[in-house]
């Protein structure tokens, strides 16, 4: 029995603190994925919290057939999808204020602080900008594969898609991301 399973059982036996261990273990990773997918840290945080609450409430339905994280991610993804539906008709104010902290992305503090960091920071900004310009479908599948290291099958489980669709969508997403990046970098060069 892995530690996830042990904590789940402890939680189901009334030790709510054990669920805190699951939260602490996965909160950061899932948060990063949600931020990349939603482009809004505050909404990502709210959805993350809601996802953990739902996971707690439905914990007895988790059968261990997939990783706990995959199951948790599916809950979060569904919440994020609902959030997007609600915000599809975004007002002017939603548009402008939705990205308070979405960039520029800063360098990890452990990185070197030499001139390379400037270029890397700029590169990170461009990557993030390109990611933001992708369709939600492409962005999500890229986040799951490239940043979350999900397998095709896991992506298919989370997104409720056939594996073949995941495969082709992922490829299109990569091509689109590549084009966006090239476009942004070309623009950046022209401006400088």
């Amino acid at each position: 029995m892995n530690e996830d399973q042990r904590w789940i059982e402890q939680t189901l036996n009334g030790q709510t603190e054990a669920f805190g261990n699951l939260v602490r273990k996965y909160q950061q990773r899932l948060y990063h994925a949600l931020v990349c997918s939603l482009e809004n840290e505050e909404d990502a945080r709210d959805i993350l919290q809601e996802a953990f609450l739902q996971a707690f409430n439905k914990l007895d339905t988790f059968r261990g057939e997939s990783r706990f994280y995959t199951w948790l991610y599916r809950i979060a993804f569904n919440l994020a999808a609902s959030w997007r539906r609600r915000h599809r008709e975004a007002s002017f104010s939603d548009q402008w204020s939705g990205s308070e902290q979405d960039g520029p992305w800063e360098e990890p503090s452990s990185e070197d602080q030499t001139s390379n960091s400037l270029e890397r920071q700029e590169e990170c900004q461009l990557v993030h900008q390109a990611l933001r310009q992708l369709d939600v479908e492409h962005r999500t599948v890229l986040v799951l594969r490239e940043m979350e290291d999900f397998s095709y099958q896991e992506i298919a489980d989370v997104l409720h898609l056939p594996v073949g669709t995941v495969r082709s969508r992922l490829h299109r997403a990569r091509l689109a991301m590549k084009q966006k990046l090239e476009s942004l970098m070309g623009q950046d060069i022209r401006e400088s």
């Binding site: 948060y31 990890p108 495969r167």
Partner: protein, 497 residues
Amino acid sequence: MNPTSSKSPKPDSQWVSLWLDGELSPQEEQQLRQAMAEDPQLAQLAEQFRQLRQQLRQLPRRQLGPDFAQEVLRRIGSAPPPSWQSATPIRQTDASGAGRVWGRWMLWGAGALAVAAAVVVMFWPHSGTHSPAPALKVARHGSASSSAYLGHHEELEQYDVGLLLPSEDLVPAKESGERSRVKSKADKASGALGGAFSGALGGAGLGAPTPGPAFLATLPDQAPIKTVRKDALVLQWHQLPAVLQQELLRSGVGSAPLAVVQVGVPAELWQQGAVRSQLGQWMLDISANAAARRRVGPLALRSTSPPVPPKAGGGALQKQAPAAPNHVVARVRMTPRQLTRFVQLLSQQVEKGLFQFVNRGAVEPLARQRAKATGVAKIQSEAPAPSGAFSAKASAGSQAPRTPTPGELQLVLVPRAQQNLAPAGKAGASQAPAPGRRKPIRSSQTEQLQEAKPSVPSPSPASGQLPVVNYWILVELVPPEPQLPLVAPPPRSAAGR
């Protein structure tokens, strides 16, 4: 997992994706390698995909606060128990009559506590005097937090918001005659940036010549400043119309960094009302949205101007058509990021031809004492309080400044005659674009705009016609939520698998 029929039978670009993901069989991988050896574009694509993966995995991660898990557990504790928990024997034994009553009182008690806590939180910021925005602490306490402050300005730079220099503080007096001189664009932008930063860093730059690019290189521990936009327009204090100077001095230029966004609205459009309503609505949207998202606190909009004596029987929003104002001043609180987004969206409207960007800039805080000692006294003595064509619900007979309620927007429309009353408004409304100029003005044209200033005649009050209504949006910059520490991306060992 073997590729299925959705994959093409011959190696193509999709095979590259599959190969990168380890989804090809050894035979297929061999085929692809051969294909890449023959087709450099395919090989290049593989390299680009690999690079893309690396870039995505190296995106930095923001860290949640350390109390996030506790928050979740608190919410779990305060929520109704899930079905699987309520079915446990423990809950059932607690379901006696006394237990239910006690539990109900516990719920009421918890609810009351929550309400009390909410009230404290809501009113705390309004008790006593208005405390300066935390950003000011940066200025006062030197470089301890300077990186965050500089980061804000860097964001502004990236979004093409120029800096407005309070030149009396940042430019030595001997250069005062040259303040309005248009320098080379690069010197102008980088010098302004350095000057603003020097003011931020504990006032080290006050009274000193505006530092140039060399200063930027010596700033300690700041967020990297790589790009200084060449097309940022730098305004000097004396170039502002008097009404704006007055507003700045009156309403807190010494308490928080201010950005100034000036939008020129063609007068005929303004008089039709639609644009006016739209701008007002946007301001209200900003307020509501900011408050709802708890980012900038409940007081998102503030009045800027002394109240206008109401007309007899006057109340809300009296309009004296058809006189259009020269200047409209709205004030709003935003974080730098919100400001940049706001400017972006305004730019879209500019591109549609609805508005013209007349100017954009940010003003560095002046010392409050200095403002009191010089600017305010001077302006108040020489400039009578404006009386506008519009007034927002001023109570009858009251001459005292009216405190706006949170979330309330007050627009102060200043009649044309006001521009000639103030002493420091040498430029007056001269920043208005040429009459009838409808072509959208983009940021790269700012210098041209500035050069065009002298040719713009101030419309005479009698003419009744104005080419442009200057909509000044004074943005009080407030810091965003505290930046959480960043952590490096975890190793790709798929922790938690």
